[in-house]
C-alpha cells in the first residue's frame, strides 16, 4: 500500500439552491518523499480536495489513508499551506511559526523548540523579519512564513493549496525556486494544488489533471521525466518538459467547461470554508 492512499473520495455541498456535487470520486496515491501536483480550473473543487485531505471537512464517501492510518480529522501530521496564508495577524512571524513548533513538540525543552523555530525561519530567509507582524510584510514574505509554518509541523504530508496564486509573477517564480530548493534538501511528501501548468511541471514528480466540476475526478497521472535538481532556465527546451506540458494541456483543453469563465469560482470554495 502506498504512503498516501485516496480512494473514491466524494463530496457534495447542500445549499439553498440545491445539492452541488463537487468531487465525484477522487483516487490518488503517492509514495513517501514524492511531490505531486493536482492541476485544474478555478472552481473545479481543488480547495475542497485540500480541505478533505486536511481533515477540515468530512467526505460523503471514500477513504483517505496516510501511512496506513485512516484520516478522520485535522492534525499536524498533514500540514496545510493555505491559499490566503492564514497567518495570525496578532502574532509576529516568529510566534506564528513557534505556535506550530510548540504544538507538535510539547515534550521538548523550550530552548530546543526555540532553536527549531529559528531554523525554519532561516530556511525561508526571514530571520531579519522575525519580529515583524504579518501586516508589515509583502505577500511573498507572508507566504514564506506560511510555508515555514507548514514545514515546521514536520508533517508526514504537506498540502499546499494554490500557495502562490495571489502573488505577482516575479515573486511567484522566486518562491517556486525556493520551494524547489527546500524540497531538494528535505524531500517532504507534498501534494501541491495549482492552476499553473508550468508551476506543476517545475515542482512535481507526477501531475494529476482534474476535470472541472461538478463531480470532478482526476485524469490519468502524467509523469514529469525531468531530472532533479531542476533549473527553471532552459527547462522549457527539454523534451521531457514539452511532453508533460503537451499531455497536461491536451487533457485540460479536452475537458474545458463551456462555462469555465462565467461561473463564479467562489461559490464552491466559499461554502467549503464555511463548513
Amino acid at each position: 500500500m502506498a504512503y498516501v492512499e485516496v480512494r473514491g473520495l466524494r463530496k457534495a455541498y447542500v445549499t439553498r439552491r440545491g445539492r452541488i456535487p463537487v468531487l465525484g470520486g477522487i483516487d490518488l496515491s503517492l509514495d513517501e518523499g514524492e511531490f505531486i501536483a493536482v492541476v485544474g480550473y478555478s472552481g473545479s473543487g481543488k480547495t475542497t480536495l485540500v480541505s478533505l485531505l486536511g481533515g477540515l471537512i468530512v467526505p460523503d464517501a471514500g477513504e483517505i489513508r496516510l501511512d496506513g492510518v485512516p484520516v478522520t480529522g485535522p492534525g499536524p501530521e498533514r500540514g496545510i499551506v493555505f491559499q490566503h496564508y492564514s497567518l495570525l495577524p496578532w502574532l509576529s512571524v516568529r510566534d506564528n511559526v513557534a505556535l506550530a513548533v510548540d504544538a507538535v513538540n510539547p515534550g521538548l525543552a523550550s530552548a530546543e523548540r526555540r532553536r527549531i523555530t529559528d531554523e525554519f525561519i532561516a530556511l525561508v530567509s526571514l530571520t531579519p523579519a522575525a519580529w515583524k507582524r504579518p501586516r508589515e510584510l509583502s505577500g511573498g514574505m507572508r507566504q514564506r512564513v506560511a510555508v515555514a509554518r507548514g514545514l515546521a509541523m514536520r508533517p508526514k504530508l504537506l498540502l499546499m493549496d494554490e500557495p502562490f496564486s495571489a502573488l505577482d509573477a516575479l515573486t511567484r517564480a522566486t518562491l517556486q525556486d525556493e520551494l524547489l530548493r527546500i524540497w531538494g534538501e528535505r524531500r517532504s511528501t507534498v501534494i501541491l494544488i495549482t492552476n499553473d501548468v508550468d508551476e506543476a511541471i517545475l515542482l512535481a514528480d507526477r501531475i494529476y489533471p482534474m476535470t472541472p466540476g461538478p463531480d470532478a475526478v482526476l485524469g490519468p497521472a502524467i509523469e514529469v521525466g525531468l531530472p532533479r535538481p531542476r533549473q527553471r532556465r532552459h527547462m522549457s527546451l527539454e523534451p521531457a518538459y514539452q511532453k508533460a506540458r503537451r499531455a497536461l494541456v491536451e487533457f485540460l483543453r479536452a475537458t474545458e467547461p463551456a462555462r469555465a469563465y462565467s461561473r463564479p469560482p467562489s461559490t464552491v470554495s466559499a461554502s467549503s470554508s464555511d463548513k
Partner: protein
C-alpha cells in the same frame, strides 16, 4: 495637511458651531423662556465652581471638579463590574450554542430595561444608595460588552480557526492564541459603548439616590431653583462624556491589529 486648512477645520468651524448654539441659547432665554439663565448669567453664577473646581463648602456645595470626581469614581466601579460580568458572558454566548440558546433570550429581554426601572430594585436589594447606584450602572452598561463580545467570537474567520484545528491546539491555547486575540477589537468596541452608557446612567442614578456627584448636584440645584447650575452640570456631563469616549477610542485603536 497645510496649517491653514487645519486651523479652519479644527478651530474656526467648530468655534462657529459653538457660537451658533450659544446665540440660540441667548435668544431662547431672552424671549420664550425667561426662567432659563442666559449664557452670561450662567457663567457669572458658575464661575467659582469652575475656577476653584475643588472647593468644598458642604456635602452638596462643592467645586465641579470634586463633584465630577465623585461621579467618575462611581462610574468606574459600575463600569469595571459591568466588564467583569459582561466579558465572560459574551464569550460564553459566542462559544457555546447551549449557553446561547439558554441565555440569549434573557439578554435580549433585559437589554432595553431603563436604569430608572432598575434603581428602585437596587435600593430594595442593597438597602443603601451607593451600592444600588453601582448595581444600576453595571446592569445597564454591560449589554454592549456582552453583545459585541458574542458577535466578535462568532465572526472569527474560519481561516484562523482552521489553523488551530490543523495544529490540534488544546482548548486553553485555542482561546488564548486565537479566539481571544481575534475577538479583542470587538470586545473593546463593546467597552467603549459600555462606558458611554455607564456615564449616561450616572445622572439618573445620582438624581434618584441623591448621592453627591454631578447628577446629584444637578437635581439639588433644580430643587433650590438655581437653574444656572443645571446648565453647568449638563455642560460638565457632556464634556466628561466626550473625553471618556475619546480616551476609550484611543485604547480601542491600539487593539486593532489588522
Amino acid at each position: 495637511m497645510p496649517t491653514k486648512i487645519r486651523l479652519m477645520s479644527q478651530v474656526i468651524l467648530p468655534s462657529f458651531g459653538a457660537a451658533c448654539v450659544l446665540l440660540a441659547w441667548a435668544i431662547v432665554s431672552a424671549t420664550v423662556a425667561p426662567d432659563l439663565p442666559s449664557p452670561l448669567r450662567t457663567w457669572q453664577e458658575s464661575r467659582r465652581y469652575i475656577l476653584e473646581p475643588f472647593f468644598k463648602d458642604g456635602e452638596m456645595n462643592q467645586g465641579i471638579g470634586r463633584l465630577a470626581f465623585y461621579s467618575l469614581v462611581r462610574v468606574a466601579k459600575g463600569f469595571v463590574l459591568a466588564l467583569a460580568i459582561g466579558t465572560p458572558i459574551g464569550f460564553l454566548l459566542g462559544l457555546s450554542r447551549r449557553f446561547h440558546e439558554s441565555f440569549d433570550p434573557i439578554v435580549q429581554f433585559m437589554r432595553p430595561i431603563s436604569p430608572l426601572a432598575w434603581l428602585p430594585l437596587g435600593l430594595v436589594i442593597f438597602q443603601k444608595s451607593e451600592p444600588a447606584a453601582i448595581f444600576t450602572i453595571a446592569l445597564c452598561a454591560m449589554w454592549p460588552t456582552v453583545i459585541n463580545t458574542a458577535v466578535g467570537v462568532r465572526s472569527i474567520s474560519q481561516e484562523y480557526l482552521n489553523v488551530g484545528r490543523v495544529l490540534k491546539l488544546s482548548r486553553p491555547r485555542m482561546l488564548t492564541r486565537i479566539i481571544v486575540p481575534a475577538t479583542l477589537p470587538y470586545v473593546f468596541t463593546g467597552y467603549r459603548l459600555s462606558l458611554g452608557l455607564a456615564w449616561l446612567v450616572i445622572v439618573a442614578a445620582e438624581m434618584l439616590t441623591g448621592t453627591p456627584g454631578v447628577g446629584g448636584f444637578l437635581w439639588q440645584e433644580y430643587n433650590s431653583l438655581v437653574y444656572s447650575h443645571i446648565i453647568l452640570s449638563v455642560l460638565t456631563i457632556g464634556a466628561i462624556g466626550f473625553l471618556l469616549d475619546r480616551l476609550m477610542g484611543l485604547v480601542e485603536a491600539r487593539v486593532r491589529v489588522n
